[in-house]
Amino acid sequence: MAGQTLYDKLFDAHLVRTNDDGSSLIYIDRQVLHEVTSPQAFEGLRIAGRQPWRIDANIATPDHNVPTTERSGGVEQIVDPVSKIQVKTLDDNCDEFGILEFKMNDQRQGIVHVMAPEQGAILPGVTAVCGDSHTATLGALGALAHGVGTSEVEHVLATQCLITKKMKNMLVRVDGELGLGVTPKDVVLHVIGVIGTAGGTGYAIEFGGDVFRNMSMEGRMTVCNMAIEAGARVGLVSVDQITVDYVEGRSFAPQGAQWELAVEAWKDLVSDADAEFDETVVINGADIDPQVTWGTSPEMVVSVNDQVPNPANETDQVKIDGINRALEYMGLNADQKITDIKLDRVFIGSCTNSRIEDLRDAAKVVEGRKVADNIIQALVVPGSGLVKEQAEKEGLDKIFVEAGLEWREPGCSMCLAMNPDKLGNGEHCASTSNRNFEGRQGFGGRTHLVSPAMAAAAAVSGNFVDVRELIK
């Protein structure tokens, strides 16, 4: 019999029962809650007179709506009344049900997918859900993590289980080494370009090969985070010493004798050498250049030294229509050089790229340089209060401010513009976030997804440049 994939192992280890119709009930070890997708779930519990199944499986923090400017006045200081209600409602619900929440001005508050692993709330081998599609991030720890809708948030609160169907297995193997200036973000954008925005639908994607084995946990999180942009609900990386070292000593991680037990149990959280994947994609790491998206879907991505595609080179009508629509929305011409795209704003942050390593990468590029005159605003938004604290300890905040970037409080910010940080109509933004959908960063806003290093290079140049030219 062929061996098992990591996904198979995680799924089997959490199977409560298989229903007659082929659906499965799996046990969920952890749920992470935020203010946008939880209020209706708590309301549902109240209406049905139900209690959460297990309080200590949950952890919460507000992130989508919180202002990233000075906010010492707390929730009452939030200007947007609707944002304020949502943040307040999370606070009230967590207080009412006794769920641990890091409130807005708690040092441990942050973007859910940055906060949860940072606290050790997500550990190797767990199942986790959150009402947010980027929950795939947590698979970097060798955890089975699903993004779910609000009805499922309520279902997990009430039953500690999720009704699901087993996915297929896909292996994305990136061999060899990455070149200088090529980062995990470039790897995942390149992968999405290869398999397409729906290429992973129905699959759990495991990222394997030397490039991921040598990648830091922060980098692995960046990659798994965007599995959903390739259509896959789940991204995974097998557990190794890098995983174990990352987890050790975190607040909710096991300690003492339990730590030894846990590490022993985690050794099996790898795909077996003879595991069979339904689909395998192999990429050579050395072939990946810094990436830039030019269109309105993450699969519309090219290398920085390439050109915007020309619909005349396509044959499929739906694809031609898609390219034409994207060119019009983005205000770009076919065959235009990527390095000729002028930028208006720069955003460094989001659950994809707001961890300490991302900020170090960006700071390295802007150090000793100045934000270009045509850039209206360049934001740096750390992923959590603890990331912010660490960055300040290393003096990164000073490097950013000196170069003319704004240093902010942690939150989702301009990734989805639910708080006041947003693009103006028609503005081009070099953004380290994960979605370049129409209007995502503001009405009429034009998003180009890039790595933190590439965003920093764009900030000091005013247009896209190959970051390798600045860090030679």
Binding site: V16, I85, I163
Partner: protein, 215 residues
């Protein structure tokens, strides 16, 4: 949950691929803590010419006359045709809530994003996957015939065109059963509470560090 059994309604074609959740309901409208009222902002950026604000009265806003759901022949549409990967992006259930609140009961496309597909069933909305050729055919027919109405029969798993042609579709037995009967998933799962408790006890014995740590 709302039941879905048999539905006949005006169909509208939305001829684009990768319709994402930000397009279905832009983020400024997600701040409500309710499940209802999202319909007036469905496809807001495509539907109106101005930038929509939360809590804004929408009746007087300038309409994009080119947008399919604004065209007189598609008024009252309750079945939506679309291209591949409909509902990609966020897990927010606000997307199906907005479609449902607007009056859409079924979306037909060659493929759907998984989380969106799943969320539909929790809200009495039926996503139907047909082949690209079949979807092409429906696009051609609806564009050629004003007042084109489609019947969706979940029990028999067919859509019926005005000419009487029956096109079969696939759906999971469990989802079909829940939708036909309007069943509450949570109630169904809690029927297995003993199984969940038994699993939980085993889990706690094997991985005690996962219990009682977060408080």
């Amino acid at each position: 949950m709302n039941k879905f059994t048999l539905h006949t309604g005006v169909a509208a074609p939305m001829d684009r691929a990768n319709i994402d959740t930000d397009m279905i309901i832009p983020k400024q409208f997600l701040k409500s803590i309710k499940r209802s009222g999202f319909g007036k902002n469905l496809f807001d950026e495509l539907r109106y010419l101005d930038e929509g604000q939360p809590d804004q009265e929408c009746t007087g806003r300038p309409l994009n006359e080119d947008f399919v759901l604004n065209q007189s022949r598609y008024q009252g549409a309750s079945v939506l045709f679309a291209r591949e990967n409909f509902g990609c992006g966020s897990s927010r259930e606000h997307a199906p809530w907005a479609l449902e609140d607007f009056g859409i009961r079924s979306v037909i496309a060659p493929s759907f994003a998984e989380i969106f597909y799943n969320n539909c069933f929790k809200n009495g909305l039926l996503p139907i996957v047909l082949s690209e050729e079949q979807v092409d055919q429906l696009f051609t027919e609806v564009q050629a015939n004003e007042g084109y109405e489609l019947t969706v029969n979940l029990e028999e798993q067919v859509v019926v065109t005005p000419s009487g042609e029956r096109i079969a579709f696939e759906i999971d037995d469990f989802r079909k059963h829940c939708l036909l009967n309007g069943l509450d998933d949570i109630g169904l799962t809690l029927q297995h509470a003993d199984d969940i408790r038994a699993y939980e006890a085993k889990r706690q014995a094997e991985a005690p560090w996962l219990f009682g740590a977060i408080k």
